[in-house]
Symmetry: C2
Subunit: 192 residues, 2 copies
Amino acid sequence: MGRSKEFDPDAALRAALELFWRQGYEATSMQDLVDHLGINRGSIYATYGSKHELYLKALDRYCEGQGNVALELLSRPGSALSAVRDFLLGHAAQCHQDEERKGCLVTNSATELLPGDAGAGRRIDTALRDVENALTGALIRAKGQRELDENAQPRSLARFLVTFIQGLHVIAKTQDERRLDDAVDQALTLLR
Amino acid sequence: MGRSKEFDPDAALRAALELFWRQGYEATSMQDLVDHLGINRGSIYATYGSKHELYLKALDRYCEGQGNVALELLSRPGSALSAVRDFLLGHAAQCHQDEERKGCLVTNSATELLPGDAGAGRRIDTALRDVENALTGALIRAKGQRELDENAQPRSLARFLVTFIQGLHVIAKTQDERRLDDAVDQALTLLR
DNA sequence: CAAATTTCTAACTGCTCGTTACGGTAAGCA
DNA sequence: TGCTTACCGTAACGAGCAGTTAGAAATTTG
């Protein structure tokens, strides 16, 4: 059946993700990818198709990872409201820890590629909807646990939070750390 | 003294702004600019220096325009809280009206060019700080008018709102209009 | 072992990039 | 009228771009 792959396609995809995440789509050239993936030009095309397809696959991989973390955190037993708060704080912490200030690939993809890129659009919509759904579920549970006002609207609140988190990832690209902390702090007060 | 300029440098700058806003920095080529500005290649370089300088000048112009609108709205007499609410609703309306879904040039610049571009970084920081200051002022007035809880923290609230607005402009790039409206709606409830 | 199959490598295709230079011409001022 | 300046179209620049192709090398299967 022929020769087997010498490189790990998933490791290479992760390297591509790293590069696209740091530099964006347009600013990343195939030569950049060749240099950083450690495999040959031809192998990249044979394995992933094109630069654009590779980007979408990297975006898929990113969404998968982030989505799992989100769903796991927001579905954990115990106080649902605490889970939501920890979810927010987690995003803030992620922003702080990222010394390269790459932000969030979903956010970056949305601002760079929408509305022109349908493939990216579908993935971004799915990613945002998944987070929104997970948040909505947690907020419904929080409401049931009387942690939330009975007038609270879980779905709308979730949409607010999704939007706010996108804002966090924009601010994360700037240097201003206090703005980020203050913003999260104030958002948390809304959740009562 | 020689021939005087035949084209309107400011009109050309606005055309460049339009293009960068719609397509982003990397995705806009000099050829695109030559085609849309209606002036010659050489005249572009003679007038604006380089593609990057032209971008920064376009960003300056954008910030100037947006900043004036913001400051005027947030400084108007009467209920300061209403002004803040109208400011938020104004951003939402701007998102809805923009059929090209260009979003906000500050937001787009931050996600595409930061942290690598110092010139863009300075301008983005200034723009965000100006809005934050204008919002803080309005919130202080709102607090004085007893429209805001006495425990409210105007500066932190302003930072929260700035961050949230960035999120709005990310969501504006997607198609989902309800998410935007719900998000604004929920954010407004925080301001009470 | 030998044939089949697949990956690997590297040179190569046009093409586009941002930028600069070149005449030729039109307009302001002496 | 001259001098200067700015305009235009065009072309060129070197570099880098995304993507292709041909063949050598390697491994699996019959």
